[in-house]
Symmetry: C2
Subunit: 504 residues, 2 copies
């Protein structure tokens, strides 16, 4: 028996620590698995080894594992085999084809936290280097769907929308969902929070309503008001994705087959019959060229067909932000202005109507080529605004919210043009970075208002952007960053200046 020392730390999986001598005596190495047995309880755990942290005869047990062992004071250990999925990950490294049950086993072990970071990373890295074939990608998607919660609607068709991201200020779902729901179609939109951006759709919606709901609640709200805009991460829908994203983020990679599977798994899990995928194309986005977009679109359509989900892809202009705001509250305000038919940027209005129009056509409530017009009619009639308010109310927000009620960070500062001229360069990523430094998305009221876009005429000392924040020092460092990074470049008659040349 080994005496238990509780390491009071949650590390996300079952882990124990042995003294080097005890490990050697049992032929155990770091990463091996052991069956840990206490009175009336047992569990499998990953072995780590120390020469100092625990003495011989002791075993360090982290919180998760100790809970499963009912806080035992003494335990036995026996060697246990490593998960079979490790063999399949090795096969992927060797570029061998995987069977459906093998892919399923990998996904199940990811969901169950049975893989160590080393093992999970090997899977991500191998799947980045060796793409899965279409059949394997289908199996991967199905495994991701089946290892999480699923929603089955009684009424069909169920519509959904997804953006592959890469363009800032993309608040279109706040318009698309109410327009589609107002047409009578169902649209249970699960969305993400920002990881490297200034606000995901979930961060935006949270400005006006709660976004964390169970699968059952999503079904109920959608069946009642036609749509939801919620955070997928709260719902255990395709949960493998959340674990994979952690490792993908750490390595700054986005394995292609995994990306396809992750997109379609989230749609499949909510029972979508038809999906429109927004694919921003252009420098700085994920798709540099229309060719890259077409190739991705082909693969998404193919995967959709295998899963019995109709997919249409819309390549959209990704060269500059959608609308003129970046940051949760600013974006919600802008979306409300369009919904209220009080103006708002054309780029936002047109993109939203185009995407919604495609869904209306796919859902059979508008004829081919008639979707945009139908969507526009729903928007201008005020039915979209009404539906948005119904959704807000159903999610527990205030349905009387108006664009002018949205609170924006109380400290704002303009970045002014150095000279007369035109906007000749426009750096999306730098704008996002400025919004993040100002506090977005954690500070929902922080962000950037874009005053001048690509090609627009600018007079010296006119504002190019306005930065807003609730924190003095964050506003200050965002302002400094904006002056240094020059996200919007104006050039006129004066082409260079000595000294103080700005490098771009």
């Amino acid at each position: 028996m080994l005496e238990v020392r509780h390491f009071d730390i949650e590390i996300g999986q079952n882990k124990i620590m042995l003294n080097l001598a005890d490990a050697q005596e049992r032929g155990l190495n770091p990463g091996d698995r052991v069956r840990v047995r206490a009175k009336g309880a047992s569990t499998t755990a990953i072995v780590d080894i120390t020469s100092q942290m625990v003495k011989q005869g002791e075993i360090g047990i982290f919180t998760e594992a100790l809970k499963e062992l009912k806080e035992a004071k003494a335990v036995d250990i026996l060697p246990a085999p490593k998960p079979a999925s490790l063999c399949y990950i090795k096969m992927l490294m060797d570029n061998q084809k995987l069977r459906e049950d093998q892919i399923r086993s990998i996904v199940q072990d990811i969901v169950d936290n049975n893989l160590s970071d080393i093992e999970l990373s090997a899977y991500i890295t191998a799947s980045y280097i060796h793409n899965l074939d279409p059949q394997e990608t289908e199996w991967l998607t199905r495994a991701m769907i089946e290892t999480g919660k699923r929603i089955h609607f009684d009424v069909h068709p169920v519509m959904d929308t997804h953006s592959i991201g890469g363009v800032p200020g993309n608040k279109v779902s706040l318009l698309v969902v109410p327009i589609v729901a107002a047409s009578g179609l169902l649209i249970p939109k699960t969305s993400s929070r920002a990881i490297t951006g200034a606000g995901g759709t979930a961060d935006l919606m949270e400005v006006v309503a709660p976004v964390e709901f169970s699968a059952e609640e999503i079904k109920e709200i959608t069946e009642t008001v036609g749509g939801v805009i919620v955070w997928g991460g709260a719902t255990n829908i395709a949960p493998a994705d959340d674990k994979l994203i952690k490792a993908e983020y750490a390595l700054s990679i986005d394995p292609y087959s995994q990306m396809l599977a992750s997109i379609m798994a989230k749609k499949g899990a909510v029972g979508a019959d038809a999906v429109v995928v927004d694919m921003p194309v252009g420098p700085g986005t994920k798709l540099a060229t229309p060719e890259a977009g077409r190739s991705l679109a082909k693969d998404l359509l193919d995967l959709g067909e295998r899963l019995n989900i109709r997919v249409e892809c819309a390549m959209t202009f990704g060269g500059s932000p959608v609308g003129r705001t970046i940051g949760p509250a600013l974006e919600v305000q802008e979306a409300l202005i369009v919904l209220e038919n009080k103006g708002g940027p054309n780029s936002l209005r047109e993109k939203s109507l185009s995407l919604a129009g495609i869904l209306l056509e796919m859902g059979g409530v508008a004829g081919r080529g008639e979707g945009y017009k139908s969507a526009e009619e729903i928007l201008t009639s005020g039915r979209a605004l009404g539906k948005f308010r119904e959704i807000i109310e159903a999610q527990g927000g205030d349905p009387k919210i108006k664009s002018e009620d949205i609170q924006i960070g109380e400290n704002c500062e303009d970045i002014l043009a150095y000279s007369n001229g035109y906007v000749v360069a426009f750096y999306n990523k730098r704008l996002v970075e400025i919004a993040r430094i100002a506090g977005a998305p954690a500070d929902k009221e922080a962000g950037v208002i874009i005053r001048k876009k690509m090609g627009e005429r600018v007079k010296k000392d006119e504002p190019l952007i306005t930065i807003c924040s609730n924190s003095d020092w964050m506003l200050d460092s965002a302002t400094k960053d904006a002056k240094r990074s020059m996200p919007i470049v104006v050039e006129g008659m004066l082409l260079e200046r000595y000294p103080n040349v700005k490098e771009i």
Copy 2:
């Protein structure tokens, strides 16, 4: 300022844990780096995020990082860039060529524990999938040498020997090192402990002498008595290797270029001029065919040339164990019997003389083709035994040790042949497993004595192997395993038996 909570656990690198809200406020994700600043101290650490382990306003700091922060009670954090080596690991994933400084940066970060498990695993996995080219492998080897301790001898040539492993009972270094040292050449042999085997050369030598020495001590002992047999892991020689092995073991992979570099880095770091590499070939070894052996030999010679180290490779018979013992004490006893010229197995004597002979020729103390004879002369004259005793004494052991003094586990059990016949199959790996179950290598006196080898005639109830252990229950489970796994298969006139057919 964040209030420090000490997580009293050594986890091998600088790590901190933030509350989710604090992380979001600062735009930090798991795996990001932060500069942690306290009064008069600062360090860089890897971020992990929790919603429960630390409260908002707190920071959990693990032992290593807190030591660097001088046990501070409160700290500031600032975002810090990830190590540049991550970009180079990404390049390796993309199969792009790396420059010398880029490879160096990866190795340095591995040695400094700057990479998380996820990042380290990505490197191992990518280098398993994409081999480095010869130039990159040279740079990798040089980086591994230069990031650790090095020994510079004043006298040359310095000889060394290495086995790529894969055959059990391979105690040849216990003979090769004294023979070569007795010839007047220097041979500072660093060796490993068993990871999945029943005893590495370091485990064996430890039966008769201490094996943990600093680089300075290795140099001094080698210059005094001509050779050492020590544990490389105690010496900080090519320390990257130890960290890489952990991840390679966890994934059960042995990336080819990394293997080449690891072998030659250990040799380069001790200042070797000439190396003989033992390459056991045959089913169950790492080299299934002579062709595979020749290809590896070519790559080792090429790498040696780049590093100015002369390499010769010896393909050796790997089909059955070297000698007739597996397990530290048993192997040392067998080696001593040969050194004492009291008999011992031919396979051990011949293999040791062949390898030593090659080194005598490479070192210029025997003519081409005369090495084996010279080695034999040194062995039979008793000079090899005398030198082994000098080395034992220099390392702090008892120089008067004799083969009959070696203690073997006090409980032994024979596994008997079921029938008359011949040994028709012989499974090395099963024998190693039995020795490990009996307690080897932690129980130095545990192991297996092989009574019958491939092709030998066996009578019913003659012992095939003898298992020894100091533990009753370990002997018992090793015996059960041996009867179930049938490491040595005898077949005679009787080909099948019903019931009780044994599946092999």
